[in-house]
Amino acid sequence: MNLPIFNPVEDPGPSFFATLERLGMSPFRRLESSLAESISLPHGTTILAFKYADGVVMAGDRRATEGNFIAHRRIEKVFAADRYSGVAIAGAAGPAVEMVRLFQTQLEHYEKVEGVVLSLEGKANQLAQMIRANLPMAMQGLAVVPLFAGWDHIRSSGRIFTYDLTGGKYEEVAFQTTGSGGRDAKGTIKAGLKGAPLERRQALELAVSALVEASEEDSATGGPDLNRGIFPVVATITGEGFAFASDEELEEITRNVIEARKGIGGGQ
């Protein structure tokens, strides 16, 4: 590998994405055929994010499906984008995980080259550009639809952003869910966010409970598996930064949630 020095006119600046393009390594290339629609690839399913007293909770189930097969039971869909933001993915798992890796590198790259951290709005726009660059692949069936959330140091608050396939970026007031089980999770979250802002523990319980609800209604969403020790991935983003909830804590919460759901729906 050579030393990537560019003359000032062609310099890609702090953009890692532009650097990759200059080096001929850009991951966003149009597929030559439309094969993607006919081959079966792992897809990630339900992800959600909502605000609580200290910031934002992000969570995702652990299942990836290929058609009606379960492709993976332990896939992770929630990632730290950097110290103060997180990204969750639904859609074609391959390109989505790759996009997260590129996004993480881009944020750190900018910080190192420029010597300052991007604003939360700047990070959200960067992700929008990546999704837009992925549009040709999305049109061929490899869609990636992430949720982005983070702590805004300028406004001292947690913020949530959602995207469409064309890179359209929309800020949410309180919550959002996407993926195949997203609609089912949404009902639980809406009902749970009625009163005063939730404390951390209540917020984690609501996240797990929304995912359990989704897993009961949507075959592509995986529920918690106490026998195998598989729990949803839940993370919090606050002024202290991004942190995953531990498996021990999630196990306890999951048991409580399942207990509390006994008799729900009149046993149907």
Binding site: L3, I5, F16, M25, T105
Partner: protein
């Protein structure tokens, strides 16, 4: 028709080396050392925003002396090299030795082929995975010469005298505070002293998580220099 003057290659190289050395000697020196908790990089730098010391990757730091725009261009290229390599392969595959070699070949190339050599000396420091045993300091000169140091190294004009002064105080088991004090007094010399406000310092330490690079802020510097 006029004939170009013949100049012996030895003379050309000597002139270029003199030119580069003169440029480098105009600035202040910089010191990198391995101490008990990691690696310390320390420089005299009155500017708060134009850094001589920066982060390259999880366990790698960069420091440069000489012409700011030239070593800053090298710094950015290093960040690009490391991030591209980490993205293409894995974070574990990014190492200082390979980066030092790329820097050396670039500096050597410019020194022999371009009109003007780069007036810089740079340091690539890597925190060892097994604590201090494998930490390395690669000191690279304007002509592409690489020196691999395992204890400490000084970059810049007055490096021999500073090395001598620092060598007298140095031991691998030094604490951060002791290493910083020794570094600052070696950089200052016997006749003057450097205030905490004119010191730029950063460390590579395992306690910082994945990204081991951390700048020492003004209050921490004052505390360490006083303590």
């Amino acid at each position: 028709m006029s004939m170009p003057f013949y100049v012996a290659p030895e003379q050309v190289m000597k002139d270029r080396a003199d030119y580069a050395r003169k440029g480098i000697a105009r600035g202040r020196s910089l010191l990198g050392c391995i101490y008990s908790g990691g690696i310390l990089l320390c420089a005299e730098n009155p500017s708060k925003s134009l850094h001589k010391i920066s982060e390259i990757y999880d366990r790698i730091a960069f420091a440069g002396v000489g012409k700011y725009n030239e070593f800053d261009q090298l710094r950015v290229a290093g960040v690009r090299h490391a991030d591209t390599k980490g993205y293409a392969y894995s974070r574990d595959d990014v190492d200082a030795r390979s980066l030092a070699n790329v820097y050396a070949s670039y500096l050597g190339q410019v020194f022999t082929h371009e009109m003007k050599p780069l007036e810089v000396e740079i340091l690539v420091a890597e925190l060892g995975r097994n604590h201090q045993g494998h930490s390395q300091l690669f000191h690279i000169l304007y002509d592409g010469t690489v020196m691999d140091e395992s204890h400490f190294t000084v970059l810049g004009g007055d490096s021999e005298a500073i090395s001598r002064r620092f060598g007298d105080a140095y031991s691998e088991e030094m604490s951060l505070s002791a290493a910083l004090k020794a570094a600052v007094s070696a950089l200052a010399g016997p006749e003057r002293s450097i205030s905490a406000g004119d010191v730029e310092a950063a460390v590579l330490e395992d306690s910082n998580g994945r990204r081991t690079f951390r700048r020492l802020g003004p209050s921490e510097l004052t505390e360490l220099l006083a303590g």
